[in-house]
């Protein structure tokens, strides 16, 4: 085999097309483009929502109209025209099915192409799936098993109808309607999403997961996820996505709210692989996501993310450590290639005493991409003995790309202990040489190094997801991951 060098890798990265880019033709019922109060009402009506929900949406819409698009992020793009987007699209094979046989076969084929067969999942991995294809849940499995434990895991529209007291109490409590431009937009027009409630003292027996897909040309995806872990409970939630390849920019503005009550623990893992655009930076998904969790006493929230897709990523999964002794964690791998831009990181807001947070962020940039870490660690005056450790490492491949770090640290308590470190490096020639010398070819060596570089984060993913994460890393950095 001829010598495989970093240049070859770069060449491969450049030419590697999006493998999962395909488009399934399913009839959808789609709203006319544009956004106004009537559209918001229509969405609410379409979903058969009670009046309080409609008003909540309208309130959000009202504040959205007055807000400006944020410009502080280290990304540049053509701003989406919010009046040229259709705000609702649902696969028209409704209502819900009791068994998989009734599901639109085309849909099933889509999942088969992705290697995610529902029944296989059902049988082998014990993962309950709340499949979201273009905004409406079409199949929910394992609901019964979960139901026996008192766990509610359903689409958010279903939850609004069946558990209004829970939704009413918690929706918008962590990410208020007016939180930011995209959160307000999402609050006004969210189409669907997942809802999960774990009752007191229950340890959720399986990993909960939802696959998001954008599947209808020209529709934005506005997911709303609400996870509530009641006192002493535990849940691990997985979210992953792949999107079909197409030229037009797509907007994705999701909101995820996590609430961990006393002694509860939520583990939220994401593998994100929206279409990143082609080698010239044309097309690709705009991913503007607001994710935030609230920790009560002794609670723990852990965010793990593998970000490989999207033309623009704007995402800061955060933890509000409100209760004493609560713990927040953030583990992230962000891979950017070609013209991708990622501005991602976390916020750890320490309010309670003895709160702890850990931030591990790994950025890998190749091609002409820009990869930024932006984080905030804030210690309020009452947060005695707060502890934070942050580490941001960047790996650069080639000199056309950039790596940036913008960590903000604000401490107002003298007992706080904060450590932050960041490094930037490339794959060392001596590292490659060492491997070569021991009979490992360059391709494998790069794989080893990149793997080792991201190991801290990959280790945090649940078993079921670790494999998929590896697969997605392969697509983004083909040839470098064994």
């Amino acid at each position: 085999m001829s010598k495989y060098t970093e240049d070859d890798l770069r060449e491969e990265l450049k030419t590697k097309e999006y493998e999962y880019g395909f488009y399934t033709d399913i009839e959808s019922d789609t709203f006319p483009v544009g956004l106004n109060e009537d559209i918001v009402r229509a969405i609410s009506l379409k979903k058969g929502e009670p009046e309080w929900m409609t008003n909540w949406r309208l309130q959000a819409f009202k504040s959205w109209k007055e807000m400006m698009e944020p410009e502080w992020a280290n990304v540049s793009y053509v701003k989406p025209d919010f009046q040229a987007i259709s705000y609702y699209s649902a696969p028209n094979s409704k209502p819900k099915y009791d068994s998989l046989d009734e599901v639109d076969p085309e849909l099933l084929a889509t999942f088969a192409k992705l290697g995610i067969s529902l029944d296989e999942q059902k049988k082998l991995s014990g993962v309950a799936m709340d499949v979201v294809v273009d905004s409406v849940s079409v199949a929910t499995t394992f609901k019964k098993t979960l139901g026996e434990k008192g766990i509610i895991f359903c689409s958010i529209s279903e939850a609004i109808k069946e558990h209004p007291e829970l939704v009413k109490k918690y929706i918008g409590s962590v990410v208020p309607q007016k939180d930011n431009f995209y959160a307000a937009l999402n609050s006004a027009v969210f189409s669907d999403g997942s809802f999960c409630y774990i009752p007191k003292g229950v340890r959720c027996p399986m990993e909960l997961s939802t696959y998001f897909r954008i599947n209808q040309a020209g529709t934005g995806q506005f997911e709303r996820t609400l996870v509530i872990a009641d006192e002493g409970s535990y849940v691990s939630y997985l979210e992953g996505c792949t999107a079909p390849s197409r030229d037009e920019n797509q907007l994705h503005a999701a909101v995820v709210e996590l609430i961990a009550l006393d002694n509860a623990e939520i583990k939220y893992s994401t593998v994100q692989n929206w279409y990143p655009g082609n080698a010239e930076g044309k097309g690709g998904v705009y991913n503007f996501v607001t994710k935030r969790g609230l920790c009560e006493k002794n609670a723990k929230i852990s965010w793990t993310q593998v970000e490989t897709g999207s033309a623009i990523t704007w995402k800061y999964p955060s933890c509000i450590l409100k209760g004493d002794n609560s713990v927040g964690e953030f583990y992230s791998i962000a891979v950017t290639n070609n013209y991708q831009q990622a501005d991602t990181g976390t916020k750890m807001i320490h309010l309670g005493k003895n709160t702890k947070s850990t931030i591990i962020s790994k950025g890998i940039s190749a091609g002409r991409s820009q990869n930024s870490y932006r984080g905030l660690v804030k210690i309020s005056p009452n947060a005695d003995n707060a502890r934070n450790f942050s580490q941001c490492d960047s790996l650069l491949m080639g000199n056309e790309c950039g790596a940036h770090t913008f960590p903000y640290i604000e401490a107002k308590n003298k007992t706080a202990k904060i450590e932050h470190e960041a490094t930037t490096s490339k794959i060392g020639e001596d590292q490659i040489f060492y491997c070569n010398q021991r009979g490992i070819d360059t391709e494998k060596a790069i794989a080893l190094i990149v793997n080792g570089f991201s190991k801290d984060v990959l280790n945090k993913l649940p078993m079921e997801f670790a494999v998929e994460a590896q697969k997605l890393l392969e697509i983004s950095l083909e040839g470098s991951v064994g």
Binding site: L396, H404, K412, N413, I418, T423
Partner: protein, 437 residues
Amino acid sequence: MDLKEKLLSSFLVFENQLDDDAYLNDLRNDAIKTFEEKGFPSKKEEAWKYTSLNSILKEDYSIFPKQENSIEFSDVKKYFIHDIDSYKIVFIDGKYSSHLSQTTHDGMDICLMSAAMSKPKYRLVIENYFNKAATKDSLSSLNTAFSSEGAYIHIPKNKMVAKPIQIIHFSTGNESAIMLQPRNLVVVDENSHVQIIERHQSLTDNAVLTNSVTEIFANKRAIVDYYKIQNDTLNASLIDNTFINQQRESVASVHTFSFGGKLVRNNLNFYQKGERIDSTLKGITIIGEKQHVDHNTLVHHIEPNCESHQDYKGIFGENSTGVFNGKIIVNKEAQKTNAFQANNNILISDKATINTKPQLEIFADDVKCSHGCTIGQLDESAMFYMRSRGIPEKEAKALLMYAFSNNVLSSVKIPEIKQRITKIIANKLGVNIGFDL
């Protein structure tokens, strides 16, 4: 009338008094226009997120002192590093004081900005260097518009300046509030070496606002050591804008010691415009009461094979606020860059705040860049160790804090400055450490 309007109208008066040539006149007019457009920076700007100028802008500053004031050397001797022989450039309320100063034209120019701006023999240097490193931000522009006095230092080729140069600005407090805008230009030619000490000192409790701009040009293989001692009274505020342009193989270092002042903002910018450059930025900040010290640094690596070292230590007591905003930019051509940045802070009071934002923007792949930042307390086991050996708590604390900041002092090349700083630290901590360095 707010300060901005006052400055704008004063400029018209000021401009009429000057007999500048067209070149400087255009510079001033452009600069005042920039200031008029941008105004004073507000907290909405990212670079000023943690520092608000509101509290110091509301004073009614006089822009031009009404009379010339003089002071006796014996009264102010303690503010000089007086135990070494040095060149001195001293200003009282913004006016040059010839009897406190010691300047020279012997083989090099250590003199005044006002002379350099008006005399034809300096014309070439002014045209080549003046306002060439300063950015067009509003405060530097404001200074440019009003620039008339300051230190002018030009060291020609192959010259080692034997004595350090002290630049000291006194304000007498004869005005109830005064705004000073000194402008310094330092040009160090090939292979030359210079050491400069800068200090701003108010002699009374009257309000002072200093908006200073210093431009330093370190040409090929030049060595520049710059020390800033900031230990002013609690009503004196300082906005220090320093711009350093380095050519290849030059070595420049700036040490900033911030112990006093109401509000101190240090904008320190290094531009590496050649290969194999070495830049050092170090600082010690020890403040209390309601003081506010903001270090805003930028190191821009433009060419390959350069190094930069940053090390800022801070100890914050009472209601004080510390800000550190360090930015390192590595251009894509600047391969083999080695950039290091550390910011360590200790909070010793519940009401003190520290905001720090170390930033890296890297576009080259073959570089070593790292930054580290910590906020913590004094080590309890170390305290216990010393207490168990009979060292009183206060002294033990002081020793630990002294040790904490010692890293920065170790690179100071003038022993007398080290001694002076050690004394100030001991004084600040209210102890007699009992040893000199």
